[in-house]
Symmetry: C4
Subunit: 257 residues, 4 copies
C-alpha cells in the first residue's frame, strides 16, 4: 500500500503529536519559516516608503505563499485519519476542518484571492488583516503552550473577576473625573465615555499625556486611581504567579511515584 505509507510518512512530517523525538520536523520548520516570512512581507508591504515600485514582486510573492498554504491545507486534511485524535471518530476530516487550527489555516489562504482578483482597496485592507492570523499557527506548534493555558484556565474565575473589578473601578473613576473636570475640559472629560479613555490610560499606567486633570480635586482623584492601578497590576500577577507554581508542582508530583 504505497499510498498508505506515503500518507503515514507525510503525517509524521506534519503532525507534531505523532513525532517520537522532541522538537519540530524539517517540514514544519520550513513551514514556520514561510509563515514568518509571509507575515513580514505583509507588514512591510503597508509601508509605502519601502514597498513603492515593488508592487509586482509583492503580488507574485503573495501568490507563491498562497499556493504553498493551499497545498499545506490540503495535505493536513489528507493526513487526518493518521491522527489518533480523529481516527476513531466518525467524519474525522469534517471534525478536523471545523477545529480552531484548521479554520485559522483556511483564513490564512483567503488573502490570495485579493492578490489574484483586483478587489476594492477597502476589501483588500480588511483581508490583509487576516494575514497576521497566520502567526497564530506558530503557537499551536509549541508544547510549553499547555502550561500557560493550564495556569490561566485554573484561575479563569479569579482573573475574570479582577477584570470585572477593574472595569467597575474605571467606571467609578471616569464618573468622578467627569464630575470634577467635565466643565473645565469638556472635550476630554465632558462625558463618562470620554473620561473612560483617561481612566483606561491611567489605571493601566500607560499615561500618554493627552488627557490629564488640571484641578486640585481632579489631581487628587487621579492620584487615587493611579495608586489603584498598581493594585490592578498586582492582582492578576499574584494570581498567575500562584497558578504557575501549582502547574509546575503538579507536574513534579505526577513524575514522582
Amino acid at each position: 500500500m504505497p499510498r498508505q505509507s506515503l500518507r503515514k510518512a507525510l503525517a509524521l512530517q506534519l503532525d507534531p503529536e505523532l513525532r517520537s523525538e522532541p522538537g519540530l520536523s524539517l517540514t514544519n520548520k520550513l513551514l514556520m519559516a514561510l509563515i514568518i516570512i509571509a507575515a513580514t512581507a505583509a507588514i512591510i508591504e503597508t509601508e509605502t516608503a519601502i514597498s513603492r515600485g515593488y508592487d509586482l514582486q509583492f503580488r507574485l510573492f503573495e501568490i507563491c505563499v498562497g499556493v504553498a498554504f493551499v497545498i499545506e491545507y490540503l495535505a493536513r486534511l489528507w493526513i487526518v485519519p493518521e491522527s489518533p485524535q480523529y481516527a476513531e471518530k466518525s467524519w474525522p476530516r469534517v471534525r478536523y476542518a471545523v477545529s480552531f487550527a484548521a479554520v485559522v489555516d483556511l483564513l490564512a489562504i483567503i488573502p490570495i484571492v485579493a492578490a489574484f482578483g483586483g478587489g476594492g482597496s477597502v476589501v483588500l485592507r480588511f483581508l490583509r488583516l487576516l494575514r497576521i492570523i497566520r502567526l497564530a499557527k506558530l503557537g499551536r506548534m509549541s508544547r510549553a503552550w499547555n502550561d500557560i493555558v493550564t495556569a490561566i484556565h485554573s484561575r479563569r474565575h479569579e482573573l475574570l473577576l479582577t477584570f470585572g473589578l477593574a472595569t467597575i473601578l474605571m467606571l467609578i473613576s471616569s464618573t468622578l473625573l467627569y464630575w470634577a473636570e467635565g466643565d473645565l475640559q469638556p472635550d476630554k472629560f465632558g462625558s463618562i465615555p470620554r473620561s473612560f479613555w483617561w481612566a483606561v490610560v491611567t489605571l493601566t499606567t500607560v499615561g500618554y499625556g493627552d488627557v490629564y486633570p488640571i484641578t486640585a480635586l481632579g489631581k487628587f482623584l487621579s492620584g487615587l486611581v493611579a495608586v489603584a492601578g498598581i493594585g490592578l497590576i498586582a492582582m492578576p500577577t499574584g494570581i498567575l504567579a500562584s497558578a504557575f507554581s501549582d502547574v509546575v508542582q503538579a507536574r513534579k508530583r505526577a513524575k514522582a511515584p
Copy 2:
C-alpha cells in the same frame, strides 16, 4: 400555605446561597443584565453627542429601571426570613436592610427620584454618580470573590504598610523635588503639595508628561524615584502572589482527608 411556598420559590430564585446547583438562577441573570443595561444607559446619557434629542426616551427608560429595582428591593426584603443567615436572629429584615448589599440596592433606587422630579442640574449630576454603584451588585453574586477577599484580608497589614511606605516615599520625593526645582518651575514644584502630584504620577509609573524635572539634579532624584516605583509595584504584587498561593493550598488541604 400558598404564600409561604411562593416566598420559598422566590427566595430560591433571588438568593444564590439557597441554590443547590452552581451558577445563577434565571431571575438573577435577568437582573444582572438589567443592571448592566441601566449602567450603560446612564453612561451613554452623559455623552450629548449621542443622547441629544433622546431626553424623553432616556427618562422613560430610567423610570422603568427604577420601578424594576424598587420591586427587586422589596422582594429581597420579603424573602429575608428564608435565608439561613438571617432566619435565626431577631429583627432579620432590619439586619438585612443595614447590610452592605441592601444599602447599595437602596442607593441604586435614588436616581429614579431625579427622573421623576425636576431637580437642579447639580443635584442630578451627583445622583447620576450613584447609578454606577448598581454595578457593585454584580460582585456579590460571584463565589470566586471569596478567594480574592481572603487573600487580601490575610495580608492586609503588609499591604497597608506597603501603602504607608509608598506614601512616605512620595512625601520625601516631593520634598526633594520641591527643593531642587521649586524655583525653576514654581507652578509645578513650587510647594510640596504641588510636587506631590509629580511624585504620584512618577512612582505609579503613569508618567503623563505634564510635570517632569528639567535640571540635572531634578532628573537624578527623579530617576531614583522612578526606580523606587518598580519596588512599589513589586512589593504588593509579591505579597498578593504568596497570599493567593496560600489560599489555593489551604483549599486543597481542606479537600484532602
Copy 3:
C-alpha cells in the same frame, strides 16, 4: 519606689515591645497622630496659596510640636533601662541614643531651632526637609514591618544583582541611543549622561514624553529597551513574591510542633 514605678508605667506606655496586648498604647496613638498632623502642617506651609497670612500660627504650632517632641525624646531616653533590649548591657542610654530610631527622633527636633531663631531662607528650607523624617517614626511602631524586612533581607543579593543588571542595561541602552540619535537630538541624546535620563524613564515604564527617539533605528532600540523594562519589573517582583511565600511558610512551621 514611686520614681521606679513611674518609669515602669511610662515605659509600658511608650515602648510597644513591653506591651502584652497587641496594638498601640494610648500615648503612642496620640504621638502618632501628632507626627501626622505636624508633617501635614509642614507640607501645607510650603503652599503659599494656603499658608499666606498664617505665618504666626504656623510658627506657634511648630514651637508646640517641637516642645512635645523634645519631651518625648527625653522621656524615651529616661525609660531605656526598662527595655530588656538595653537593660543588660553597659551604657544603655548611650547605646539607645546612637540607635537609628533615636537619631531620627533627634533630627525631628532640629526644625524647632529654625522656628525660634530667624535663620536664612536656604537653611530653613533644608531643615524643613528633616520634618518629613518624623514620618519614618511611624514605621518602627508596626510589627508587620518585620515580615517585609525579613523578606527583602533574605533576597538582598538577588535584588541587588537585579538592580546592578538594570543599571548595566540602562548604560548599554543610553550608549546605543547616544550613538543612534546623538546628532539629531543633541540636547536629549547628545551624551551618555543625557541619554541616561531617557533610559531610566523608559526602563521603569514611566515614559514622561519629554524625550523619545524619532528615527526608525532609535525607535527599534527603544522598543527593545521598553520590552526589557517589563523584565526589569518582573525580576524583583518574582524574587519578592517567593520571599514573602517563604516568610509566611516559615512562620507557619514555627507555630506547628
Copy 4:
C-alpha cells in the same frame, strides 16, 4: 618551583572559584573598582559640557586603564592551568581564550587602540560602545548570579512563548490601529511598521505620548491593548515568581539530609 608558586598565588588572587573564603580577593576588588572608574570616565567623556578642555587627561587615563587591562588579560591567561575547570583538558589556554568571559575581557582592551591611534570619529564612537561591556565583567564575579540564571533557564520555554505571544499581540494591535487611524494620522499609523512603535509603547505601558489614537474606535482598540499590556507584565512576572520559589526550595532540599 618559585614560578609555579607565584602562578598559584596569583591564581588565588584572580580566580574566585579557587578561593576558600567567601567574598572577593583584594586584587579582584581593585580590578572591580578600576572597571567602574573606567566606565564612569568613558560615560562622562561623552558629555562635552564636562569633558571640554580635559581631552589630554581623558586620553592619558584611557591609556593607563588600557595597560592595566592588558596586564590583567595576560595574567588571567597565564593562570589558566591552575583552574580545575580547564587543567585536565587539552589546550586549556585556548579553551579559556574562547570562553565568554575572556572574549569580553579582550573586547574591553580594544578602545586603547582608539586612544593611541587617531582613528576616525565614527570608528571611535563605535569602539566607545565596547567600553560599557567592561561592566559585564562585574556580573561573573557574583555567585547570586547563579540563582537568577537557574530560575530564568528553568522557565526559558514559557518566557520565550510569552515573548512570542506579546509579539503577535503587538502585530495584531498595530494592524488594527493602522486600519482604524491610518488615514487620519498617516505619519503615525500610516503603515504597520509605524503603528508597531505605538503598539510597543502602549503594551509595555511606557506611553511617551508622541503617538496616541484620536478617534473613538482607535481609543477603544487602544484601551483593549493597554489592558492586555497588564497581562503582558503579569505573565512573565508570575512565571519568574514561581521559578524563584522553586530555586530556593530546591536549595533548601539539597541542604536537608
